[in-house]
Symmetry: C2
Subunit: 315 residues, 2 copies
């Protein structure tokens, strides 16, 4: 695609059309209308974001969850969804039933309602776009642009599981027990939007976003939006029992984790530790925000590890 | 697709997920949040809603306009757009430039801003989904469900031009002058959302929607939502100079017109005639709302003409 990657593409083409405060410069997970409605839209395509033979109900639930993950990272409470579904003509009634059943499960689970959208036929792959709206206290929204020097960098849950889960889904043997393989597959197929965490981070954290394209790339977005640098330590990156054998690339650059990456002042350390216990969700300090720009990943010897970047659609 | 058409599909699968007042039962052009934000989402796919070799800027502008047409039919004032764009990997930088230039033209023309969205690569056809938000006085929103017995049925502009324009775009010779062919092609490629009309219909009209899938089918939606019937007269359907030779099917069932179809009490006739002059836009009375159900199209002899229906994606 003419050497364009997704981020430079968005910036060059669309930023001139976005000269209103509500857009947050197209550099955050959401737009913010009336300082109160957080709104996000994401598309997923068969063969790109999920495997064509993934179970229909899990595709529906992943679609909802990747969007709610954006709301979660802003501390927003999800309310409404609009779905535009482009179904291949050969889609069976059974498949559609299962898809709708997945939507229903997660609409109920997350207390959101479908309020509109569009259904069309496509000669191409199944393509789904979801718009999600949530309520947020905009004055406290956890914007990407609010990281400050001296902030600790935190991440929820564990990293790299989804990247490994994708390998499992593709049938690539990576020497895992069935239990671990199942765990990783689940992490790939069924992200957990960290809504409770996001709401509790308001007032504690400075900047936040969800990790969808890989830790290093996404942390780079916080740094760029905040005009700061970040240093993270490879040894601190949290990994699940199933991902003990994962290489550093999966942890630092694997996509689809949908955990919350956030920065908070050291004064919040104790409260965050308590919050982790309360929510039953690991919160791990992985580095520090500083002046300057860029993201540095340090190895156990303190030397920088280069060459790891996030997922880019058009690289 | 297992005999499902688009409308029964939406109803069966999605209505159970939409049990909130904001959804308007998924039976209107928009959802209505806080009685004030009208929100709509539509997708267009290359080879289905436009021809793959249509000019990129016109594809972008049509995408915006089909969505703004939904807002127009509710009397809403458009404000914000979110775009999810699935670009084929082979898309050229030149094509993207032209696409962005079309977005820019219409964002400026309609005074709307892009506030978010998503850009992904697809192995399939160009697929674009747009969410549009507008401000409306919800207590007066021109809902589909508000048609009343005795209302006159009106339509703006002329019918069938876009259906003929599609034939022109496909190179089907239909014996037109270059001027008329150009007019029809323009009507297909560049719909005119009737925003000024929509705003002025508040207080005058009872029910309204935009004509996107063909007059008869769309009028059927108003009848179903209102629990009423409609009778329209073939001779009254407004046609442009270029469409004088069009058959009744193009006028009564051709898609993509994006005119406003509305019902209003006879007491509003004089004001609507004056409004037509003021806006420089034909407003034509084409029939009447009554009790009962269904849409009847009458020929010049008063006999019913059957067998014409709107565009359905999965028929």
């Amino acid at each position: 695609m003419a050497g364009l990657d997704e981020f430079s593409l968005i910036k060059r083409l669309f930023l001139p059309l976005a000269a209103v405060p509500e857009s947050l410069g197209l550099s955050d997970d959401v737009a913010l209308i009336e300082g109160r409605w957080a709104i996000t839209a994401d598309a997923i395509v068969a063969g790109v974001h999920f495997l064509p033979d993934d179970p229909a109900d899990l595709i529906a639930r992943k679609l909802i969850r990747v969007n709610l993950s954006d709301l979660a990272a802003k501390g927003a409470e999800p309310r409404f969804l609009l779905l535009t579904a482009c179904f291949p003509r050969e889609t069976s009634a059974e498949w559609l039933d299962r898809f709708a059943s997945g939507l229903k499960t997660d609409c109920a689970h997350f207390k959101v309602a479908l309020i509109g959208g569009d259904t069309v036929a496509t000669p191409g792959p199944l393509t789904l776009s979801l718009t999600a709206l949530g309520i947020v206290d905009g004055t406290s929204a956890l914007l990407r642009s609010n990281a400050r020097s001296g902030d600790n960098i935190w991440v929820s849950g564990t990293l790299g599981d989804a990247a490994l889960g994708l390998r499992v889904a593709k049938g690539e043997a990576i020497g895992l027990s069935p239990e671990h393989a199942g765990f990783l597959l689940d992490r790939y197929r069924l992200p957990q939007p960290r809504l409770a965490l996001g709401r509790r981070l308001i007032g504690l954290a400075h900047a936040a976003m969800d990790v969808s394209d890989g830790l290093i790339g996404d942390l780079g977005h916080i740094c760029a939006a905040s005009g700061k640098s970040a240093t993270i330590e490879a040894e601190l990156l949290p990994r699940s029992a199933a991902a003990q054998g994962a290489d550093l690339a999966a942890l630092a650059a694997g996509g689809d984790d949908y955990e919350v990456l956030f920065t908070a002042p050291p004064a919040a350390d104790a409260q965050l530790a308590a919050l982790s216990v309360e929510l039953g969700l690991p919160l791990t300090r992985i580095g520090r925000i500083g002046e300057g720009e860029g993201v540095r990943l340090l190895g156990p010897d303190g030397a920088e590890i280069a060459g790891l970047a996030g997922y880019r659609h058009f690289s």
